[in-house]
């Protein structure tokens, strides 16, 4: 049999109908739902008298609007209505919901893996572009719009054109102190903000194999920031070890059987992709974005570019517009950029490993004067785990705010946002204009780099920090 990629394998196994020249009707194994992109879909079902076809393959949570302080009492009336609407819809249609009071509540892309809902070989969708996160397990996972949410609720399927495949090979070993976030920011900076458009990406190479599941999720999470339809990593022992004993994962002999099936999913030796790009791991440094799209980033020892550096008239204009918005002078050293806010959170970087990584740098230090720093764990489980490890104390003693879970300042739909004209070092995924608040200026970084910026007040090379800052 011809060697196949994991993408081809999952695709072929899920085709309910496949006619040449038409999109295929694809079966969906897991549908995650949240409060912002689902109300109109449930309303559509109600108007046409349709049930949810497979409530057992559907799982809901509330995350975007949830306050991270006093989460029980939502003061914004419209936010509250959206939250209440999801609650009512889940009850009416029989969908399991990790509501605001549930110990399993959290950001949709954090709780899926946490509960073991996310598994290798599954097709997973959610009305949220960062659904690509679940690809870390060797699942084909992608974001959809609300019309498609309704379509999946009603039929458990989606019409999809077969994707093109691309191998993104991270060649060789990573340098010490370089993290998963730096890898994905470097990939997008090197190949461009839409290089993945139309493709499903598979990340390969020694540097990827060496990552934990949480780090792999950080990489796959930002596939959408390269415009990709999805991004995934072939499963291996690291994947299986992570999944064992999680709530929705089979136990005992059934688990062993599953593992054997999952092993077969990995891309075959010699399989061909439609496209391949390579980035040498040793050229990747801790990254910081300077602009208003995620490809506008450089290594910590870099400088802010000049509009003239753009390769085309369009790109020159894009750089100029970004620098105007960010209020940055070309040629400025990245290490000279001062911030007023530090946000440690989001579906990209708010898992327990991310908090540990930041806490290592924070421990025994203080947040610099004039900086507001905040930790928003990705789920209530992550929060609990961190508190058991005493990480909350480390952050609080340094001057961080310690919050409940939610999407929070990644997009500022809840009360957490960055004021106009101020600058934030953020572990989230988008530095778009106004993303963290109208007129807010976002610099995307890893948790370690955010921690460094919190202590020094500006970006620093975290590889060169002593454990404790004396000044």
């Amino acid at each position: 049999m011809k060697p196949r990629t994991i993408i081809d394998k999952i695709w072929n196994e899920h085709a309910v109908r496949a006619e040449a020249g038409k999109p295929n009707l694809m079966y969906v194994d897991l549908h995650m739902v949240h409060e912002v992109t689902s109300p109109q879909a449930f309303e559509g079902l109600r108007l046409s008298g349709r049930p949810v076809r497979r409530p057992d393959l559907t799982f809901a949570t509330m995350d975007h609007n949830v306050p991270t302080l006093n989460r029980e009492s939502i003061t914004d009336a419209i936010s509250k209505k959206q939250i209440d609407t999801l609650f009512d819809n889940c009850r009416e249609f029989g969908v399991e919901l990790a509501d605001i009071h549930s110990p399993n509540n959290g950001i949709v892309h954090i709780i899926g893996p946490e509960l073991g809902l996310t598994q290798p070989g599954k097709t997973i969708v959610c009305g949220d572009s960062h659904t690509s996160t679940h690809g870390a397990f060797g699942a084909l996972a992608f974001g959809i719009g609300t019309s498609e949410v309704e379509h999946v609720l009603a039929t458990q399927t989606l019409w999809q054109s077969p994707p093109k495949t691309m191998e993104v090979h991270v060649d060789g070993r990573l340098g010490t102190g370089v993290t998963a976030k730096d890898i994905i920011l470097a990939i997008i900076a090197k190949f461009g903000v839409d290089f993945g458009s139309g493709y499903v990406l598979e990340y390969t190479g020694e540097a990827i194999r060496g990552l934990t599941m949480e780090e792999r999720m950080t990489i796959c999470n930002m596939s959408i920031e390269a415009g990709a339809r999805a991004g995934l990593i072939s499963p291996d022992q690291v994947t299986f070890d992570y999944l064992k004993d999680r709530r929705f994962v089979p136990e005992g002999a059934e688990f062993d059987e599953k593992v054997e099936q999952w092993r077969q999913l990995a891309t075959d030796e010699g399989a061909e992709y439609d496209e391949r790009v390579v980035i040498p791991a040793d050229e990747i440094e801790p990254m910081v974005t300077w602009g208003t799209n995620p490809s506008q980033g450089v290594g910590i020892h870099g400088t802010v570019p000049y509009p003239e550096d753009g390769k085309s008239a369009t790109e020159k204009k894009v750089i100029k517009t970004s620098l105007d918005y960010m209020a940055l002078e070309p040629g400025t050293k990245i290490t000279d950029i001062h911030v007023q806010h530090v946000f440690l959170g989001s579906c990209t970087n708010a898992r327990i490993g991310d908090l540990r990584e930041a806490a290592k740098i924070i421990r025994g230090n203080k947040v610099a004067d004039g900086i507001r720093a905040m930790v928003v764990p990705g789920s209530q489980q992550v929060k609990l785990q961190a508190e058991e490890e005493g990480l909350d104390q480390v952050f609080k003693e340094a001057g961080f705010e310690w919050r409940d879970s939610g999407c929070s300042m990644c997009l500022g739909m809840n009360p957490d946002f960055v004021p106009e004209g101020e600058r934030c070092a953020s572990t989230s995924n988008r530095n778009f204009e106004g993303r963290q608040g109208k007129g807010a200026r976002t610099h995307l970084v890893s948790p370690a780099m955010a921690a460094g910026a919190a202590i020094y007040g500006h970006f620093v090379d975290v590889r060169k920090l002593d454990q404790t800052v004396s000044s």
Binding site: Y27, Q40, E150, A154, T155, T157, W159, G198, E433, G434
Partner: protein, 196 residues
């Protein structure tokens, strides 16, 4: 969904690349639980100054873009968040057709499912349209059946590609769920076969 066959209308030129859905409709307007009424918030942070007045320097506020129903934009239009509120806002504002060199995949799907035709044209043709329309009213006729775009005066003429499935959906204004439910037997057979 309203069928779209031949559309004639004025154009608005948005000479910007990588316009993300956070710009098309900022997050503070995603809290509604209805599909309607989003047009007033379209490009909110660009369209309005902080005092709530329209910003005359924003492209959609140019007199030449009055009553525009065709939006011309640069590469990677609709990138970022999957929010369908973006096409809802564009449609509610009055847009039926978008013309750009490239789109994000999710945004493209979201448009088609709401009866908005996203046309892909080569960069040089898009830039020609931008030139024609950026300082004066500029009307185009978009013929989906024949996959053609033309104007009356400047002599612009182009053909475009579109997936035949999406084309049929748009031409007929079909409800996709009804179509899929005709394949109920296939879905059931699949569920039995793989035991989901």
């Amino acid at each position: 969904m309203e069928a779209l066959t031949v559309h004639e209308g004025n154009t608005a030129v948005l000479e910007r690349a990588n316009v993300d859905t956070d710009q098309i409709i900022p997050k503070q307007f995603l809290k509604r639980v209805e599909r309607t009424g989003f047009g007033q918030f379209l490009f909110f942070d660009w369209r309005f100054k902080s005092d709530g007045e329209e910003d005359p320097s924003f492209e959609l506020n140019y007199p030449s873009a009055a009553n525009a129903s065709i939006l011309i934009a640069d590469h990677n239009f609709g990138s970022g968040s999957s929010r369908e509120h973006a096409p809802w806002a564009l449609q509610d504002y009055g847009f039926r057709v978008i013309i750009a060199p490239s789109y994000s995949d999710i945004f493209y799907n979201n448009c088609v499912k709401n009866g908005i035709l996203p046309v892909r044209l080569p960069e040089d043709q898009v830039y020609e349209l931008m030139q024609n329309g950026n300082d004066k009213e500029y009307h185009l006729t978009v013929d989906l059946q024949n996959q053609q775009i033309s104007d009356k005066d400047a002599g612009f003429q182009a053909t475009f590609e579109i997936d035949p499935y999406w084309k049929e959906m748009l031409l007929n204004g079909w409800d996709e769920i009804s179509i899929t439910l005709q394949y109920e037997e296939d879905i059931e057979a699949y569920e039995k076969r793989v035991k989901v």
